[in-house]
């Protein structure tokens, strides 16, 4: 695959992913993943030491849909928004139609009272596949640089 072309497509995928969450259309967020996927939020320290647990651990798209349902209908959190900025992707490897990609990110959280602050930084470790002409995540491991999370992590990173 042509790297330049593919990088462009990965950039588009991440731009759409970010807009989906930041525009509060999280019902569409699970659609960025294939049905049998892995989405996990962890920390650089846990990741480096092979500690498997995540703040969020979903091994199916249905679990991501449940996450959205819980955020909409069950969980209590103050009104807030994210602004995702993703950096230049590094294409790490590819095999059998799956491409391994690392993308740095920064998420600013904007609270109800107007406070804007850096909420999380880190890198996405992705396994991207093409499904009927669309790039989708088979795996997205959100490796946060810091182990400290302010108050709660409600919306997806």
């Amino acid at each position: 695959m042509d790297d330049l072309h593919y990088t462009h497509r990965i950039n588009q995928l991440n731009a759409e992913y970010a807009r989906c969450i930041d525009d509060d259309r999280i019902e569409a967020w699970p659609d960025f993943f294939v049905a049998e996927c892995l989405y996990k939020i962890t920390t650089a320290d846990n990741h480096a030491r092979g500690r498997e647990a995540g703040l969020v651990y979903a091994d199916s798209r249905a679990m991501l849909q449940d996450r959205v349902a819980a955020l909409r209908e069950a969980n209590i959190y103050e009104r807030q928004r994210y602004r995702h900025l993703t950096g230049v992707p590094s294409l790490l490897s590819q095999s059998d139609g799956m491409v391994a990609v690392e993308v740095p990110f920064i998420v600013i959280r904007i609270m109800r009272d107007g406070t804007s602050e850096v909420f999380a930084t880190g890198r996405y470790l992705d396994q991207v596949v093409e499904v009927t002409g669309q790039l989708r995540f088979r795996e997205r491991i959100v490796v946060c640089d810091s182990h400290r999370f302010d108050t709660l992590v409600a919306l997806p990173l």
């Binding site: 091994d59 349902a69 969980n75 182990h147």
Partner: protein, 407 residues
């Protein structure tokens, strides 16, 4: 601040106690450095000689380390020379500890073993001849371990850990921690509130089914489920449990009262998150256990974690989560625990709200220092109950707190 007197009942707590700088300072001396046992770490985290972790006793930085004799030692992470931190990493392995500032060196038991240029240079300078290294050392903690948990105390008067926790709560601790544990992950949740609000929240069986809708909807716990609360004689330690099956017929208690938590039943598309393996042999599906001042052991189905509550400032608290499995877990069981971990921590379906609600209180009481909160559910006692529609264990916390603080 002039403190109004404390109301003469366990059912009222004045709000200044969450706001006052002098109280915050006194808590460090009277509670954290007083006759209590502070949770430090897990034995599992110090498997080999030289393995160490840095943590805190209240605000006091502490090094916990295993020495060649197999024992765990703990001492203040403060060089006796100029007060700098001795160890700068969260964890590691060390033959000894050397302060980076002027290279004073300590062994694994906190004894000062080396002072740079002690004899001077070219016969000039150096420490006074009568300087005694044995007489200088960071404050050392008494250390004790129980069920793989390491606790430390600055006090010579604190009773043995078993007696401190109390038999009833100890038995609840043992039922979870019978097997060697395995650390699955560590996360810190920064709470925007005084540490005592989280200590109360943990002991508050009242809020669980009302604030946490996820709990209620899926029948993980409800006040009308069988269960109860055990409070230690001191009041400071508690365990609350609920039985996983709905053995008590569903009461009308919730219906028609218009609670937010009763609205809009919804179903999980992937209910595997609630697949539960009966592993403790007693059908207890949820147990929350606390040891005064800042330790929590939690079992929600197969999701086991310890939490360490550390004050950082009057209205800032760190909640350190350590997610646990057991060494003998099958790969399938490991996966069950990883999925159920969605319930807990900063993004937990159940726990996320606990991170926020303390901040709601801290902000709500901004100008209410002269007023009191009301903690009267289930009467004014602070003892064990066979039901959970009570705030007995919250009153227990205040009973212990007032004794330590002499309020």
């Amino acid at each position: 601040m002039q403190h109004p007197s404390w109301p003469d009942t366990l059912t009222r707590v004045p709000y200044w106690v969450y706001q006052d700088a002098q109280t915050f300072a006194n808590e460090q001396q009277r509670i954290f450095e007083g006759p209590v046992w502070n949770f430090l770490c897990l034995e599992e985290e110090l498997p080999h000689a030289g393995d160490y972790r840095t943590t805190f006793v209240g605000r006091m930085p502490v090094i916990v380390v295993r020495d060649d004799d197999g024992e765990v030692y703990a001492f203040e992470n403060r060089c006796v020379h100029r007060g700098a931190l001795i160890a700068l990493e969260d964890e590691g392995n060390a033959r000894d500890f050397q302060c980076v500032y002027h290279a004073w060196t300590y062994d694994r038991q906190g004894q000062l073993k080396g002072v740079a240029f002690k004899e001077g240079v070219n016969g000039k300078g150096g420490m006074p001849k009568d300087f005694c290294m044995q007489a200088h050392g960071p404050r050392k903690l008494r250390v004790t371990t129980i069920f793989g948990l390491v606790f430390g105390s600055l006090s010579d008067e604190v009773p043995p850990i078993e007696e401190y926790i109390g038999d009833d709560v100890l038995a609840k601790m043992e039922r979870v921690l019978r097997r060697p544990v395995h650390v699955l992950g560590r996360f810190t949740q920064a709470l925007p509130n005084n540490w005592k609000m989280y200590a109360e929240n943990v002991r508050d069986t009242y809020h669980a089914s009302l604030l946490h809708l996820f709990f209620t909807k899926f029948g993980i716990t409800r006040l009308d489920q069988a269960g109860g609360v055990v409070v230690s004689e001191s009041g400071g330690n508690h365990a609350t449990a609920s039985i996983v099956e709905r053995v008590v017929p569903r009461q009308e208690a919730y219906v028609g009262q218009g609670f937010r938590s009763q609205e809009n039943e919804f179903k999980l598309r992937d209910p595997s998150i609630l697949d539960t393996h009966e592993e403790f042999g007693d059908n207890i599906g949820l147990q929350i256990l606390s040891v005064f001042p800042g330790f929590v052991l939690q079992q929600i189905r197969n999701c086991v974690a310890v939490r360490q509550v550390l004050p950082r400032a009057i209205a800032a608290t760190d909640l350190n989560w350590t997610y646990l499995g057991f060494k003998d877990d099958s790969p399938e069981m490991r996966r069950v625990r990883l999925k159920q971990a969605n319930l807990i921590g900063p993004a937990g379906y159940v726990s996320m709200e606990d991170g926020a609600v303390g901040g709601f209180v801290q902000r709500g009481i901004a100008s209410a220092g002269a007023l009191d909160s009301v903690i009267a559910l289930g009467g004014d006692n602070a003892g064990s109950e066979t039901f959970r529609a009570t705030e007995a264990s919250v009153r227990g916390f205040w009973k212990a707190y007032r004794k330590y603080m002499d309020f």
